[in-house]
Amino acid sequence: MADSPLKLFVYDDVVIGEELGSYEYILTQEMVDNFRASVEDPDASFPTLGVKHDATAFAMVYDDQIGTVNAGNQVEFFNPPIVGKKINVTGRISDKYLRRDKPYIVLEATAVDEDGRMLEKLSTYQLKKPDELGKKWHPEQK
């Protein structure tokens, strides 16, 4: 899907259950080391969190001019990824809703390695009106 032209993201056009396709990458030791250093945890087992599987799947499909703020994440861990293995990620838009008049979408990604081991399932609750959150954080800037 990475070779396809990006679609302009329009919130009203998003359909719940929309598939974002899949992509693959090979986990390298450098990626693991970089991730562990960034979070100061030499034993961090899921450098896949730094890859942002679901947001990456979304960004490979959509040109999002609005931007987003991550309101929450839900992660299920099944097996730590192994260096040198190919990881296959499948993404979709699993939900879309308004809360307090603010638009949200939920991205979901499932990661499986080349041996068929389930690695992680990640969901992100994205607020698609980031300026509203900025105003909440800094009301003096309204």
């Binding site: 960034s38 087992s45 490979m60 931007g67 992660v75 299920e76």
Partner: protein, 141 residues
């Protein structure tokens, strides 16, 4: 790490404290396979989209910190294969912040010979403001 028989409601998880810097935020952002400018690595974009004067750390950094205390409490053999972390982000985390992640067992339930453990998770900054709250779970066989 805690064993099944030792885990009781109210029991505290190990605490971790992390100093957030621009360098650590940017390093985390560099871990991806798709390098794009965003509100985490580009202060100008953060200003345009959020109205902030700074780039904010990815919430996934806090997810990783929470996963760390869960892994230390349950042990990697348990947490890395049965664990979950679910956080709601409340306040921005930025360069200069110090984030302390704490947790406490909220409940245990025996299901088919397994112990399902739930944990309340909290991330606080140096001012005592909660930046994220949520729950974690793990299954001890």
């Amino acid at each position: 790490m805690a064993s099944r028989t030792e885990i009781k409601p109210g029991q505290a998880l190990p605490t971790v404290t992390k100093k957030i810097t621009t360098a650590s935020i940017l390093q985390f952002e560099s871990c991806g396979v798709l390098q794009k400018e965003n509100i985490h690595n580009n202060p100008e974009l953060a200003k345009k989209r959020l109205g902030t004067t700074y780039a904010i750390a990815s919430g996934r950094m806090s997810i990783t910190f929470a996963a760390e205390i869960m892994r230390k409490f349950f042990g990697p053999d348990v947490f890395n294969h049965t664990g979950t972390v679910n956080l709601k982000f409340l306040k921005p985390v930025k360069d200069g912040d110090t984030i302390t992640v704490t947790g406490a067992v909220s409940g245990t339930e025996d299901v088919d010979g397994e112990s399902h453990v739930s944990v309340d998770l909290f991330c606080e900054n140096q001012d005592g403001d909660r930046t994220a709250v949520g729950i974690g779970t793990a299954v001890i066989k």
